[in-house]
Subunit: 341 residues, 2 copies
């Protein structure tokens, strides 16, 4: 049988009350006594039964998700996953609140973060816009003792506890190799569509993509990056213009969202052209395009996994536990038309 608080008391030769004082960092225990109890805890290998403790405490985990607004399928999916997590809140004792902020808007994000100061939260998850002031605001929350995890896009240099998202440099590199190998030895130009260079994930994908392209596929030339702000309308316009303006484009890498617009442009302007296309994020639109051969590969991050992982990590961090590392690694999914879920 797993040892209990009673076993600690017996082993340390103290009363239950004292054990409790030590376990819950309550005052009124002499140093020598405290050490005696802590030694007993180690000796008998006591592990707190979190379920029982939570029951006794009536513990709930108030969590906040700060999500960007945006009319693209990926964000819709992310919202959906958070809402599903809210539906499960009775089971896992969470109380989830969603805070919406405009996309790519650092000041708004900072304001949202600072508004959380002083609230009794078990964790904050945010899709980070990469800016020094955001980093500072995150650090303030961390200093205040609130677990913070970044979601989808990281904020390196900050003191956030965890990042629940994919390795975006690796994603960009992978996209480059897929495009490069799929194109065989063909020579030509590649168009890159990004959302915004303000978010770290997009910058990193581009970085990874460019470096593999330069090193291993020199016959492919990268055209200047188009910024579509993850907006289908803008993406459509930019890609249409690019395709109309050049005949040497043989491939496209879309590293952000708003692929609905890209696909429309491919249908309208790219008609009849032999294009190899790799995009990010599996949505109903990209799935259909993958199936009908309009695009060749989709790189994806599982939003559901990201949200669930973020919640697990925030809860564990909140009560000082550790997590199963392998379980919290967010994988880059590569979808061809043959392995769609």
């Amino acid at each position: 049988m797993r040892p209990t608080v009673y076993d600690i008391a017996a082993a340390a030769g103290v009363s239950l009350a004292t054990v409790d004082r030590v376990l819950n960092r309550r005052p009124g225990v002499r140093l020598v006594t405290r050490e005696k109890v802590e030694a007993a805890i180690r000796d008998i290998g006591y592990i707190r039964d979190v379920a029982a403790a939570n029951l006794a405490k009536g513990r709930v985990y108030p969590l906040v998700f700060i999500l960007p607004t945006g009319d693209n399928s990926f964000m819709h999916g992310l919202y959906g996953e958070v809402r599903q997590a809210m539906a499960r809140s009775t089971f896992d004792r969470t109380e989830i609140r969603i805070v919406e902020v405009p996309a790519f808007d650092a000041p708004a994000l900072v304001a949202a973060l600072d508004a959380l100061q002083g609230l009794d939260l078990a964790g904050v998850a945010l899709v980070a816009t990469d800016a020094p002031e955001v980093r500072a605001a995150v650090d303030r929350l961390v200093t205040a003792g609130i677990p913070v995890v970044t979601l989808v896009s990281d904020l390196t240099g900050s003191t956030r506890h965890h990042y629940a998202g994919v390795d975006n440099i690796g994603a960009g590199r992978t996209a480059a190799r897929l495009l490069g190998r799929f194109l065989g030895g063909c020579k030509g130009d590649l168009t890159i569509l990004a959302g915004s260079m303000l978010v770290r994930d997009h910058r990193e994908r581009l970085e990874g993509f460019s470096s593999v392209m330069a090193a291993e596929f020199p016959q492919l030339r990268l055209l200047p990056v188009l910024e579509g702000r993850d907006d289908p309308e803008i993406a459509n316009r930019l890609i249409s213009e690019a395709l109309s303006g050049s005949n040497s484009i043989i491939g496209i890498y879309s590293l952000g969202a708003g692929n609905r617009g890209l696909l429309k442009a491919l249908k309208d302007t790219g008609q009849g052209r032999e294009l190899t296309v790799v995009v990010h994020e599996l949505t109903e639109h990209t799935r259909a395009a993958l199936q009908d051969g309009t695009i060749d590969a989709v790189l994806n991050q599982d939003a559901g996994h990201e949200v669930r992982s973020a919640i697990r990590v925030m809860k564990a961090t909140a009560d000082g536990q550790d997590v199963i590392a392998g379980q919290e690694r967010i994988r880059l999914d590569i979808f061809l038309k043959d392995n769609l879920p």
Copy 2:
């Protein structure tokens, strides 16, 4: 606040004891009373607090993993993951036992399954060998009320509750497309190395691979399947012979385990030849080979995810709860040298 058993009692106008009798299917409740209580449960939306219930019951989940012996890295990894799960057993109230059976040995598997009859188990997970007698043995366990999940390789037609593994037909198809596209328009022969056609997962991978090859890459010819029994020694011999015997081989698909032997053959016999290689299962050997360019892609199933998923599903099935479907889907991981974890 979430409703409790007291709220049911009040709502139904009965005593706590009666509520308990209904909730735990204990005898001694008239039909009308039972229905009154059940109506109240629905009305107030009562959900049992499983943590509290388990605490009160002192519940543990005795689980059995039936795993094949075998000297290949994938199985070693699987064992390792189960052992890690055993190390976590205090936390999730499991009591895991591993039963070893010879690989590809249906009678042994049947014997192992039947030996579990009558034991008070919360679940059985097995790597299935696909045979009618195994199916029957699994069905017997299911009939006896024990949750059964298949791991890695499925057993369709049986009444197993769940399959914790990848879609192997899709995996084969994906391998075919990767090989086909990576080879550009080249014409030539492909060698296929399997473990055994006795296990469903290998048969399915081959089936998916063959169908995509036939339909979309007619310039590539498939050589007869080599069966290496997931054994590095045998794989080495078979591949060496194949490469020595033919100069028209331009690609290899290894759909089973034992890739250590394949890699040795590639190094010894395949020296200097331009081969495009796709293999299954990420191990230290295939990882290194991917990195140094010996192989081009690795398809993988995350053994850790499979084991954890199997445990979650068995526990949930054991107490009649449902699971988060998306969380239990085992994905086919595609690794290029750029997205290695």
